[in-house]
């Protein structure tokens, strides 16, 4: 496996808190090409710590591309240069000896920086609290096989449900729109028979909170889809727009 070590120059965003101004700081590091990107940062941090310096704050957990905790902008791209993977799945063999790498947090008005590379994405939870569910209580539900769902439908719903809530779509969008994230959840449920009864309520409520939180609007630039580590399709956005339109028509009808 192991090839020659890489000598790299890192330019990393450092910011001590939400209220303070940040800036790029230079670091030099030698790493194995078998290291993952985050292992490189671990090694840098271990070195900083042993020198008594404050390490770079960044978040990660599963390191398998499924929890959605990690997320850095690497050389201007959310989750880095390789498509359809999360930051934690990026390996150093994709870089060349002597490269300079720019590392920044996700940037969006609705994702304030907490420290260095850590941002606050709790807006996503608030959108979920507003309607990202099917209203059933524990117990008293029908047998799982009483609800027939065609394989293709289940599969399409699963495609949407694969979203890891990382926020790269927001960071990639020039308007900081959260449409891809919200539409993935709306679609997952709208496609399934279980989700149909409250489909209109759901989309209206989620969109309202999304707007209130200061996420921008969608102007169809497709940047979100390009950077999404799970390949969530913008078809979901079209579906959500349809759902939303129908919801508005329905509520108009009710007013009459």
């Amino acid at each position: 496996m192991s090839g020659k070590h890489l000598n790299l120059k890192l330019k990393i965003w450092r910011q001590s808190g939400p209220q303070t101004a940040g800036s790029f700081v230079d670091y030099q590091i030698e790493v194995s090409p078998d290291d993952s990107f985050l292992e490189m940062l671990d090694e840098l941090n271990n070195k900083l710590e042993s020198e008594g310096k404050e390490p770079i704050a960044f978040e990660s957990d599963c390191r398998e591309g499924i929890c959605g905790t990690c997320g850095l902008v690497i050389n201007g791209q959310p989750h880095g240069p390789i498509p359809k993977i999360a930051t934690c799945q990026l390996h150093m063999r994709n870089f060349n000896n002597g490269d300079t790498i720019w590392i920044e947090p996700f940037r969006a008005k609705a994702f304030p920086v907490l420290k260095d590379l850590i941002v606050d994405r709790s807006g996503f939870d608030e959108i979920m609290n507003a309607g990202g569910f099917i209203s059933v209580n524990t117990g008293g539900v029908p047998d799982a096989n009483d609800i027939l769902i065609p394989k293709e439908v289940a599969s399409e719903s699963m495609d949407a449900a694969a979203c890891i809530g990382c926020g790269a779509c927001v960071a990639a969008c020039k308007n900081a729109s959260a449409m891809l994230f919200v539409s993935a959840k709306v679609s997952q449920f709208a496609l399934l028979p279980q989700g149909k009864p409250e489909r209109f309520r759901r989309v209206e409520k989620m969109v309202k909170v999304m707007d209130d939180l200061g996420f921008g609007s969608c102007t169809n630039t497709y940047a979100c889809e390009a950077e999404c580590p799970k390949g969530i399709s913008i078809r979901n956005i079209a579906r959500m727009n349809r759902e939303y339109f129908l919801a508005k028509v329905k509520s108009k009808e009710l007013e009459v």
Binding site: M40, D61, R63, C67, M128, I134, A154, M158
Partner: protein, 636 residues
Amino acid sequence: MVKLDSKIPEGHISEKWTNHKFNMKLINPANKRKYDVIVVGTGLAGASAAASLAELGYNVKAFTFHDSARRAHSISAQGGINAAKNYQNDGDSIYRLFYDTVKGGDFRAREANVYRLAEVSNNIIDQCVAQGVPFAREYGGLLDNRSFGGAQVSRTFYARGQTGQQLLLGAYSALSRQVGLGKVKMYSRREMLELVVVDGIARGIVCRNLVNGEIEKYSAHAVILATGGYSNVFFLSTNAMNCNTTAIWRAHKKGALFANPCFTQIHPTCLPVHGEGQSKLTLMSESLRNDGRIWVSKKKGDLREPNEIPEEERDYYLERKYPSFGNLSPRDISSRSAKEVFDEGRGAKGQEAVYLDFEDAIKRLGRKAIEEKYGNLFEIYETITGENPYNVPMKIYPAPHYTMGGLWVDYNLMSNIPGLFVLGEANFSDHGANRLGASALMQGLADGYFVIPYTIGNYLAADKPEKLSVDHTEFENVKKQTEDLTRKFISINGKQTVDDIHKRLGRIMWNKVGMSRNENGLKEAINEIRELREEFWKDVKVPGDDKDINQTLERAGRLADYLELAELMAVDALNRNESCGGHFREEYQTEEGEALRNDEEYTYVAAWEMEELGKWKLHKEDLQFEYVKLSTRSYK
């Protein structure tokens, strides 16, 4: 004086839970809102519990150190979740799932708990489908199943390779709904650091706010810990980076018994360590063993490329030693055999690794068929290692994966401290000495959706605990101690980093308290762990301050607890003079090298009470096997 009472209900095994549900005291709906419940952890166990309790009307406070409830480690489970639906008409039943789980646990689990788990397994699937979990389907629209982990029936439900993700997102959705309704107050980025016990009863917790460093106090009528497992004591494991033992360990130090700490599961198919910088290990699905053949060179120190080693110089050791199960031998046997060949100096290219080879399968079935079955996994492998498994055999090696041990709980999932309940991987209850594949997700959701909502009501109604104010002196004391401890980490100002010490602990544990253990090694490990602990408290370096995001400080606290738990794991392994499930003592094996149980003396749960650090008192809960007869497994 601690007294163990498992509170197993009377009656035939199939009626115990039903009878118990009927006999338990109820709280009328209007009164439930007068009770506050703290739930620590929002994995499958915690999120399902928090949502279900809130639906019933309780006021729930939910805590997680993550930025969002959805990030819990449960999200990374891949394979699937078991249930006894018998949708495939292949002879499955509640009784069979119960039987398999008791036997798989090598007869070290409580029969009554396991039966209940099998009994509610079917409700879990119904619940998840109602929530919109997109399980895999057949063309006819019915749910699809697969067989998993050596089971003879197809009882595993799955959502691609992302079952844990979909189940957790289902529970998280239910939780979000209750947060939106104001029935759950969500406290994210909070790490529970202490349990508050007054007059022997659990009254609340003390947390650190990970953003501003404040030490905060919370009180409630009952406290639930659903904080996951402790595999990261080994530093390298398949668990997420932040999994830790702090919540249950600090509760242990407040009097909660820790049961079977040495029962850990080592998973045979993980990616090997690539170098010093390795931060965690990645699990490769066990399904690969269906078609891949596992081998190493017959020669010691053979550094040739695998393709240069001729057929007759290869040792397909699992096929040789266990002809009837071969490459599909159970997790513990496969793991141990890999370590054996490495210890003999026969690791793949001298590394801690063995080959998992698809050459024959590709010849037999064609590349296309292999691609269809495993394409996704092969891609993952290539992303991580840079090698293409269609051309070069994969390298795999065992890694710590799951901890069967945990806080002792009775049938109601209550610890020996009244008011403290423990759910999911954090408790010891259902898997005995070995967990079967696809059973952890089942247990987490069983505990949270279908057990705790009943048993907590009974506790609140029967014991009538009072909620104390957070101004109570004990809350103040605990808060102060926690602040002092936090500052202490920073004030040591030594020379070694937290990770450097954690890696050293990991090596001790892997070599001496890992997948095979012996008396001498365990005694050495105890001494080495104690020495390392002393070093930690003298020489660790934690930069930064405590009133800010300080991830080194978080890791230092977690490591401090691992350095204590590690010792208890060794003590427990030393006490258990037998081999069973994931616990293999080299002194106790058959002539063929199989695990040798000692049912005469060790058919008990070892529940440890801490008297002082380094001194534990053993309490034994004897296990009765009335329904599944004690027998030895054989995979020859």
